[in-house]
């Protein structure tokens, strides 16, 4: 079955621009905002948002990366996931951290990310920005900023491609996708 296109490159770009504007609307001052992308899908998105925010706020917005695999609660259920670097820019205590991920699904990654974030400091608040919200939440977690809401079946897979990693921008819904995590 052919994969169906959810966002093409232009739509993906518009979605990120809109999220950036919503972040500005929610946070009056950019001085205390830190973007943290969840490895691996959220990191490039966080850096793109940081670039747009820098233009909107006229000041640099730090962006970092957070790997949550050491904070997952399901290590025994699958092969140990590859652990990618965590790079938190500066002290996040007292800051507004915007967690950034590509796809919001069960909410378990976000749960792990909130725990992992706590090891680095105590943010004043944490907001969640995702490119795609595909539903099927298993925890009481809700995104503050969403690029696109998509109705999916549990056995489908959302495939986000980004120029930095995959050479092209776009989001596809893969029917009966097998295995590889979003």
């Amino acid at each position: 079955m052919p994969d169906s296109l959810l966002l093409d490159a232009a739509a993906l770009s518009r979605a990120l621009t809109r999220i950036a504007h919503e972040i500005v609307e929610r946070n009056e001052s950019g001085a205390d905002v830190v973007l943290v992308g969840v490895q691996t899908g959220g990191v490039h998105i966080a850096h793109r948002l940081a670039k747009t925010l820098r233009e909107l706020w006229n000041q640099p917005v730090p962006a970092g990366a957070l790997d949550v695999n050491m904070h997952r609660d399901d290590l025994g259920n699958h092969l140990a996931p590859t652990v990618h670097p965590t790079q938190i820019p500066g002290d996040i205590t007292g800051k507004t951290v915007v967690l950034v991920d590509d796809v919001l699904f069960s909410g378990r990654t976000t749960r792990a990310a909130l725990d992992a974030l706590n090891d680095f400091g105590r943010p004043r608040r944490v907001q969640l920005a995702v490119l795609i919200d595909r539903g099927h939440r298993e925890l009481p977690i809700k995104a503050d900023f969403v690029g696109k809401n998509v109705t999916t079946r549990a056995n489908e897979r959302v495939n986000v491609k980004l120029k930095e990693a995959d050479g092209e921008d776009g989001v596809w819904l893969v029917k009966n996708g097998n295995g590889s995590p979003a």
């Binding site: 904070h71 609660d73 290590l75 025994g76 092969l79 965590t86 990654t109 979003a182």
Partner: protein
């Protein structure tokens, strides 16, 4: 990720990719050790048993701290105070520990193959923390990690292992790891402790220490294991120090950036002149730090479940 093993029994059976997977994972766990909060919940609820039938302090402490940093519960089980002294077999001891729901058994034993033996009937994971003169896989992993951290690679490097090769599980595990990753390995020491048979593994064997260290990028000094040797292996400690020790004169002839390594504990003045152990090119204490990261990585990797990653379960 290329790791799907339940046990870590030896380096011999690992592929280069699997070794690299451990080293890459350890890099991230080393970063955890540099944070204010050095503990992660990856192994929360798991029980790790340190079954050290042969005495050890540093390896046991390193494994213990690794397990604690991963939030596992740890039990230390030493030979001295154990039922093994009362005549219980290793198999029965291990099965008793498993009956307490141990998830991972880390074993050190004087008998070659003891970890492999346990892995054949235990449901949990087994980690070899040193079996006889056979292998000490985590030591080789932390040594290659340390070399890679300094040089960015292993392939093409000249690594000299100097000292007691015959009785050394550290040497055997290092030889396997280094050869698999493409290093050139030279072995040197008294001929009684460095049999030519190691040439069959693909190593260069020489009894001329100056030749062994002249073009070395890494010099790994192995401890003279007084406790395992008969007196006939070499005439005296003094003679060993004079003929094979890393003296100032020899150090001056090494490559200017050659790394000096030692798995510890050091016999100062025997394998190495005392102040050289503390010089800028000595990475002996880094090896200890890296050992913790390697052991965290190993415990993390073997705790992964089996089979394919579940569909969407990670998103």
């Amino acid at each position: 990720m290329t790791w799907n093993r339940k046990h870590l029994l030896d380096i011999e059976s690992l592929s280069a990719d699997e070794i690299i997977a451990v080293l890459d994972t350890a890099r991230q766990f080393k970063a955890v050790g540099e944070r204010a909060i050095k503990k992660v919940p990856a192994l929360r609820g798991k029980t790790v048993v340190n079954l050290f039938v042969e005495p050890s302090t540093r390896t046991r402490i390193s494994f213990e701290l690794a397990a604690i940093r991963l939030s596992a519960d740890v039990i230390n089980f030493g030979a001295e105070a154990s039922s093994l002294k009362k005549g219980e077999t290793l198999k029965d001891t291990a099965r008793n520990l498993e009956a307490l729901n141990a998830d991972i058994i880390i074993i050190r034993h004087s008998a070659t193959g003891a970890p492999h033996f346990l892995s054949r009937f235990l449901k949990g994971s087994v980690v070899n923390a040193g079996d006889g003169a056979h292998e000490h896989p985590t030591q080789a992993l932390l040594d290659t990690f340390t070399i890679r951290e300094h040089r960015g690679k292993i392939a093409g490097l000249n690594v000299t292992i100097l000292g007691d090769i015959l009785y050394s599980r550290v040497a055997r595990s290092n030889i396997w790891a280094l050869l698999k990753l493409g290093a050139n390995v030279t072995l040197c020491g008294p001929s009684t402790l460095v049999p030519r048979v190691f040439e069959q593994m693909g190593c260069r064997v020489t009894y001329n220490v100056d030749e062994a260290i002249a073009d070395a990028d890494v010099i790994n000094l192995l401890r003279i294991q007084h406790e395992r040797q008969r007196q006939t292996m070499f005439p005296s400690i003094g003679e060993y120090a004079a003929l094979f020790g890393l003296t100032h004169a020899r150090f001056a002839r090494t490559r200017p950036n050659a790394l000096i390594m030692h798995p510890g504990p050091i016999n100062r003045g025997v394998e190495i002149a005392s102040d050289l152990a503390d010089c800028g090119r000595s990475v002996i204490l880094e090896q200890v730090t890296n050992g913790l990261a390697i052991r965290m990585a190993v415990l993390y990797l073997i705790s992964g479940g089996k089979g394919a990653q579940e569909l969407g379960g990670l998103a």
